[in-house]
Subunit: 358 residues, 2 copies
């Protein structure tokens, strides 16, 4: 039996995608071997690779001004590679600190060059207003985090960075709804939320922004190397890219990003409604306007009740809701593949739990 999985990442994958992967795991489409055993230079994998790239372009509506790169090393590696490419001598970069992951990105950038905080919303229960953002017009770039997985906040509209290139870590809400890609110089996202399994990182980057950038770096660390080789400079994580292709096919079949947005808004609305319906029992610490549709965080009246909640939920087949160790409480992740029916089961459980324990 498939459980109701609200993990924060790695996270739930569509059941039909896993079924397809299982079905062809020993013999990829009559080739007599697993897709994992195919050469990355052979025609079977080549077709998977380019299908994944073009599906991503199609689903995300990536303009021809931007490359799509398939890399590895997760978001953390991008925390380092971004400043290593763009934080050139004599320049400074602006970081908007909206959560624990922004802080990590900021810390890694510090080891590369000069950085400053364009805003800091600690303790991170909200997204800064436009008036709070003090951008340096000469900055090498502005770095934002579109969704704050730990704290359950999300930008609902992106800030205007003017002529300064906007770089966004979209790891935890990439592909959650239509996105104006042309407004970003660089978007990066670890795959293990809405795109596929862990071990794959997607970078969408303006072609003129990376042209010549990082010329001082070894070729294997340069974005341009992968752009020129269509992400086949070296052996890519082939199975993760195969899974990404299947997830993108599923995304397309379910209405693309407009379909995802409707699906995600509906799931999030149901869950926030359940929280708000029992205000003396459940409490969401996030400002209403900043509430994330991807990660819903809430507290119960006591840690003892939180533990009981998790344990009874698990017995009811609802798992993955323990908040990050740095934050505590509950965190329910509602990435694209999470079924609305799973949220219905959770909401019913929450209603009953509140009645029983209030």
């Amino acid at each position: 039996m498939r459980i109701h999985n609200f993990n924060a990442g790695p996270a739930a994958l569509p059941t039909t995608v896993l079924e397809r992967a299982q079905q062809e795991l020993m013999d990829y489409r009559g080739s007599g071997m697993s897709i994992m055993e195919h050469s990355h230079r052979g025609k079977e994998y080549d077709e998977v690779h380019h299908a994944a790239l073009s599906l991503l372009r199609e689903v995300l509506a990536v303009p021809s001004t931007h490359h799509v790169l398939l890399l590895s090393g997760g978001g953390h590696t991008q925390f380092a590679l971004v400043p290593m490419h763009f934080l050139t001598a004599g320049k400074s970069a602006d970081y908007v600190i909206t959560g624990g992951w922004s802080e990590k990105a900021f810390d890694e950038a510090k080891s590369v060059g000069s950085v400053r905080e364009a805003a800091n919303t600690k303790p991170f229960t909200r997204i800064p207003a436009a008036s709070e953002l003090s951008f340096d017009a000469k900055a090498a770039y502005v770095h934002t985090t579109s969704n704050n997985t730990l704290e359950g906040t999300q930008w609902q509209a992106f800030p205007d960075t003017g002529a300064v290139p906007h770089i966004c870590d979209m790891s935890s809400d990439f592909l959650w709804r239509p996105t104006p890609v042309d407004r970003f110089a660089l978007i990066y996202a670890a795959a293990q939320k809405n795109v596929g399994p862990s071990g794959l990182t997607v970078v969408v980057v303006r072609k003129d922004f990376i042209a010549g950038a990082g010329a001082h770096l070894p070729p294997s660390l340069r974005y341009e190397t992968y752009a020129k080789a269509e992400s086949l400079y070296n052996t890519p994580p082939t199975f993760a890219i195969y899974m990404m292709r299947l997830v993108l096919e599923w995304t397309k079949q379910h209405g693309g990003l407009a379909g995802m947005e409707a699906r995600n808004e509906k799931k999030a609305a149901a869950l926030y409604r359940a929280i708000d319906a029992a205000p003396h029992f459940y409490r969401c610490p996030v400002e209403p306007a900043a509430r994330s549709r991807m990660n819903v965080v809430f507290r119960l009246p006591s840690e003892a009740l939180e533990e009981r909640f998790l344990s009874e939920a698990k017995a009811a087949g609802l798992v993955g809701m323990k908040g990050h160790r740095s934050v505590g409480g509950m965190r329910v992740s509602l990435y694209n593949p999470v079924e609305p029916a799973s949220v219905d089961v959770l909401v019913a459980f929450m209603d009953a739990f509140a009645k029983k324990n209030a």
Copy 2:
């Protein structure tokens, strides 16, 4: 039907490992979700992760002086990270160039600091004799490539680098037989040959060698970061590590590295015997003492015959033998999972093909 797969990497995986992965793909051991959907901080994945680490220590007999790190980015990323950590200012590093992959490692290191060739055996049909190696006693390290995938040569005994740390790219023959780990300061290997699918890189490194090394690098690029966090600093490629664990269990069940050595020597001997039995038809360009047990390269009398060989072999269920585009001819990869029975089928095919076309 499973085909006879002689791919150079990604390459064949043990059939029983794939069967197990297939069987538990939708529901990892009763947890109600795929191992890909488990949190990397949860107890199910944690057990997989630490089992993979301890199996590797056990199978490879890694001494307590060394860390085992599970990274990503393939061998190419190590080409860059090695000099970025150890090629400190004022120092030079020695590279022993024995094939196309050594050349790539050398080229990436050049962009970091001062490097020199301690030997160069171009056109790479042999391994240098001890007398040809001119090591700089003050070098930051010596870099070697244990097996040259493209050219089909392999070190049968490792050179003595004296007091200079020896760093070895073992990507294409890691775990092929027992290895004196204590003689190496650092070993790296992309997984997609003898260890698992692509997307995972194993680094075995002396603890005192990385202590404090690369202090100028962003944390996410430092070996020490992953050593301290037992390779759970960030989200690792969980599915690839799960597969590595299954492959290591299979390795152990098949006699460990002594078992692999016997299995690999037998497969390679059968194939080289078939080549040598038709000396006017098949020709191995490699010096006999340097012949690789992992990648067997050979030529036929003409390119037309080579094409016919590949096409008739494919029809007989034997695939993955086309040599690398930079070398041409045939390349048969005999990594650990390749079954001796597959080599028997290939040898019978080669005997018949030579008789028919000589």
